[in-house]
């Protein structure tokens, strides 16, 4: 958008000239689509980075978790940090565990349920964060061409009205208007195509991460439930 004021060079029919000649509706559509494209790419870049980070974080956490380190110790190191992904689930579960045992849990069944709930909550929060803004990509992907087409239709309409006014059927009269109108569709496609591709890729990635975290949550839940059983058994014995 910042570059638009530069658009004064070029020939009679360069893209810039076409943009400036367009009517305000078409201009609005083109500017909107350009903004959508910018935002789409911002999301794509952001998400790609975020997913990459998340994946490496998951790998690191799994490594640490299965390294045989004591869970208490791990919790202590993670508790005061800002946590993401699996560590967030782990921290949520451990916090619930701790709270229950500090106050003296009555029924192991209730404790198990609470821990599961806490983990589910953490998981859904994480997923929500991961998948945020992907909806915008989907919207741009599906609506972008239509918006561009709308600009084109309006542009061609006005250009035909102008032709009717000029009472000339020469192609030289018709061509510029149609070219400028088609530019709107071009920009729409330009925004929509990367958005669709990126949406498919990112949502697949998000699904994979989500499955990995769910798997971890289930595993951790199983571990905790074993521990609860053991503790209950110790108390009973």
């Amino acid at each position: 958008m910042e570059t638009l004021p530069l658009a004064t060079t070029g020939g009679e029919l360069s893209i810039w000239e076409l943009f400036w000649q367009a009517g305000w509706v078409v201009k609005l559509v083109m500017i909107g689509l350009l903004g959508a494209s910018i935002w789409t790419w911002a999301i794509i870049i952001d998400k790609t980075i975020a997913y990459g980070r998340m994946r490496s974080a998951l790998n690191r956490f799994e490594q640490v978790f299965w390294s045989g380190q004591s869970l208490e110790e791990l919790y202590r190191t993670l508790a005061d940090r800002k946590t993401t992904g699996m560590s967030a689930i782990f921290v949520a579960a451990m916090r619930e565990w701790k709270k229950s045992f500090e106050k003296g849990a009555r029924t192991p069944m209730g404790l198990q349920m609470r821990i599961d709930k806490a983990m589910d909550l953490a998981l859904s929060r994480e997923m929500e964060r991961l998948e945020s803004r992907l909806g915008f990509l989907a919207s741009v992907g599906s609506a972008g061409p239509f918006i561009g087409l709308f600009g084109t239709v309006i542009g061609i309409m006005t250009s035909f009205q102008a032709i009717a006014g000029s009472k000339s059927t020469s192609l030289a009269v018709v061509a510029p208007g149609i070219a400028e109108a088609l530019l709107a569709t071009a920009i729409g496609l330009l925004a929509a195509i990367p958005a669709v591709l990126a949406y498919n890729k990112l949502s697949a990635d998000a699904g994979k991460i989500s499955a990995r975290m769910e798997g971890f949550a289930d595993e951790f839940s199983a571990i905790l439930s074993r521990q609860i059983d053991e503790k209950v058994g110790q108390k009973a014995a």
Partner: protein
């Protein structure tokens, strides 16, 4: 998110800047000079009637008129050629009297022209025209001359020749035109003396003039008059004389128009509608009849159609012939193009059941 947004902005800015410098207006589609091709709708008739020309001529871009070696003998010289003016006149050999006159004028001296014409010569013509009965030219003049012995110079030339030739004839009376002489001599005696004087001075005039003796015939005078009117030498047929090479075509003159295929079809179809084929005839050959009929300009039959082929005096043949004649008279006013009347003034139609349908 900030990182993503700023990166995206930078990327878009870079892309737009790149476009700014590289995506100029596409170079104009250079269309070569294309000449518009005029298209005519040509009827099949025009297509079938080839242009007149020379069959062996090379194909040329420009249709050229034919070159003929003997232009005078070609009858329709008006249609082709590059003369400015087309003349109907058939070229004629020069009038013979002139030669005779030249022969009669033996005097070689170059005469002083101005003097003789105005004064002395005029008196002579006045009397003479009267005796000469046929000439239209001299007739009007006499009155004027009678009133004033010196009339305007215009009338002079016409009578002059006559007078002079007569004078010359008088000089050498016995030689060539004895029959004419008596008349002029008889009446105007007084002028003759003047003439005699004039004669000595004017030797040439007689040579140029034909009228004196033999040209009393109306024709040559009319020719002269015509030449004056048209201001053209009466030699026609020059239009055919062309320096351009002949165009490719047929030798046949194409002046005769033909009925186009569609017009002939229309005529045939009409006749087929009017024709009720006699039923119950085994042999279709019996039904084949050729009928000839003449039409006037309005398309009406001029006479009863006549059978020129087929038919018979009795039996199915007769029925067929009658049906054909009936068909023609039933259709009678034929609607045919009037400008091609020559082609359909006489029509021969073959009535054949296998053809008509």
């Amino acid at each position: 998110m900030k990182a993503g947004l700023s990166t995206s902005l930078v990327l878009h800015a870079a892309l737009l800047a790149f476009g700014l410098f590289t995506l100029k207006a596409p170079s104009a589609h250079d269309v070569g000079d294309v000449q518009a091709i005029p298209i005519d709708m040509v009827s099949i008739e025009e297509l079938t009637q080839l242009q007149q020309g020379d069959k062996k001529a090379p194909k040329a871009e420009k249709p050229a008129p034919t070159k003929t070696e003997r232009p005078h003998t070609v009858p329709d010289a008006k249609t082709i050629g590059n003369n400015d003016v087309d003349l109907d006149d058939v070229p004629k050999p020069e009038a013979s009297p002139r030669k005779i006159d030249t022969a009669s004028a033996p005097k070689p001296e170059p005469a002083p022209k101005p003097e003789p014409k105005p004064v002395e010569a005029k008196p002579e013509p006045k009397p003479e025209p009267k005796p000469v009965e046929a000439k239209p030219e001299p007739a009007p003049q006499p009155p004027k001359v009678a009133e004033a012995p010196r009339p305007t110079p215009e009338p002079a030339p016409a009578p002059d020749p006559v007078a002079e030739t007569i004078a010359s004839a008088e000089e050498t009376p016995a030689m060539e035109f004895p029959d004419e002489l008596p008349k002029p001599v008889s009446r105007p005696e007084p002028p003759k003396r003047e003439v005699a004087k004039a004669e000595e001075k004017k030797p040439q005039k007689p040579t140029q003039d034909k009228t004196a003796s033999t040209d009393q015939d109306l024709e040559s005078i009319l020719d002269q008059a015509k030449a004056l009117v048209t201001k053209e030498k009466p030699a026609g047929g020059g239009a055919k004389r062309s320096e351009q090479t002949a165009s490719l075509g047929t030798d046949r003159p194409s002046s005769a128009q033909k009925l186009s295929a569609s017009e002939m079809d229309a005529l045939r179809q009409r006749l087929a509608q009017c024709w009720s084929i006699p039923a119950g005839v085994d042999d279709a050959e019996l039904l084949k009849v050729s009928v000839r009929f003449r039409l006037d300009r309005s398309g009406e039959l001029e006479a009863r159609p006549e059978i020129i082929r087929g038919g018979a005096s009795s039996g199915p043949g007769r029925t067929a012939a009658e049906s054909a004649v009936r068909a023609v008279s039933k259709c009678a006013p034929f609607n045919l193009p009037a400008d091609k009347y020559e082609t359909w003034a006489e029509v021969v139609v073959n009535f054949d059941p296998s053809d008509m349908f």
